[in-house]
């Protein structure tokens, strides 16, 4: 019995060199696997972010186009809209596309509506007098942000044609809900622009 004990130990256990080899292989394989996994995950996250920014940007563009083409009657630089602040009509001046301009649209019933980035937010909102005192509806969710000073508005008119209004903005993905677009390597930002002609009345 005393002679068998060392033999059994030798059979059941691993040698030191075996352990070193196994740990060495694992030390090479595991970081490689994690790196590959991380790379795939990073790519997938980026695709999801681009898709989300694109989806929300397209929604904003379509909503603006649809509302302007259906309802807008005249363009103004002030609220409430009046003849004095009307722009982009045949006899009134155009407004160049800048982030500092705020344009208001008036529908046929005389109600005012506009698209803006409310102060203190990074969302595009639609404001309408028809909706009452709390008259803002967000067109973008908290998942995306409007890049600072990128939301621009302008209008022009050519001859007796319908005036056209242009909106331009950059949307980026809200990284980890931190209200920032993130570092240059993780930033996902897309530019959107839409121009809609007011209907002929």
């Amino acid at each position: 019995m005393k002679k068998q004990t060392p033999l059994l130990n030798k059979i059941r256990g691993f040698t030191f060199i075996e352990m070193v080899v196994v740990i060495g292989i694992m030390a090479i394989a595991l970081p490689t696997l994690y790196a590959i996994f991380f790379l795939i995950l990073q790519q997938q996250i980026k695709i999801v972010r681009i898709s989300e920014v694109q989806r929300q940007g397209t929604f904003v563009v379509n909503t603006i186009e649809s509302l302007v083409k259906k309802n807008a009657y005249s363009i103004h630089t002030g609220s409430p809209p009046s003849t004095a602040n009307r722009v982009c009509a045949v006899t009134t001046p155009p407004v160049s596309l800048t982030s500092s301009s705020q344009l208001y649209l008036k529908d046929k019933a005389g109600n005012s509506f506009d698209f803006t980035v409310p102060i203190g937010t990074q969302k595009i909102s639609s404001e309408s007098a028809v909706l009452g005192s709390n008259s803002t509806i967000d067109l973008t969710s908290s998942k995306v942000l409007v890049v600072t000073n990128s939301f621009s508005q302008g209008c022009s008119v050519s001859g007796y044609a319908s005036p056209v209004i242009t909106y331009s903005f950059d949307l980026c993905y809200n990284i980890n809900n931190s209200n920032t677009c993130g570092s240059a390597s993780e930033e996902v930002s897309l530019h959107f622009e839409t121009t809609a002609a007011l209907p002929n009345y």
């Binding site: 059979i11 790519q43 681009i50 694109q54 397209t58 050519s158 897309l190 530019h191 622009e193 121009t195």
Partner: protein, 153 residues
């Protein structure tokens, strides 16, 4: 004797290492392929956005001034290369994009052009064919967008 029975022979080790090697190589090929596909899909989304951006800008030009817009089109078609993003104006010169005329936004791999073809003289309709092209991993990918704008729409 017991030790001899319980250890592996050379052929067993070679077969095991061979199978393991095949498994890893297959795994790596799948990983590399899926990474490439993901990257291409990511660039497809960006390319589509560039195409939409150009389409929206051209529509804006049409809405702003039809006569000025159709002066950039002809019956045989005129090609313009749009390198700037966002687009501020018509390109200075006509013609295809050169080999290094990439859109000026990172990653600088996309080339974007539009062919404007009018139907008659004076034109009442213009066909816009937009192409966004990029090269990746030895392959050339492109996103074509075609739209027709008319004077009375």
């Amino acid at each position: 004797m017991k030790q001899s029975i319980q250890s592996f022979s050379l052929i067993e080790v070679i077969i095991f290492v061979g199978i393991l090697g095949m498994f890893f190589v297959t795994g790596m090929i799948v990983v590399v392929y899926s990474l490439q596909t993901m990257k291409v899909n990511q660039h497809k989304l960006i390319a589509t956005q560039y195409g939409e951006q150009l389409s929206a800008w051209l529509r804006a030009q049409k809405e702003a001034d039809w006569n000025s817009f159709v002066s950039h089109a002809s019956i045989v078609g005129i090609t313009y290369c749009f390198k700037d993003s966002p687009i501020s104006d018509w390109p200075v010169s006509q013609g295809d994009c050169g080999v290094a005329d990439y859109v000026n936004v990172s990653p600088n791999i996309f080339r974007r052009w539009a062919i404007l073809t009018s139907d008659s003289s004076p034109p009442t309709r213009v066909t816009i064919e937009i192409t966004v092209e990029w090269k990746e991993g030895g392959n050339t990918y492109s996103i074509p967008l075609a739209t027709v704008v008319s004077r009375f729409e």
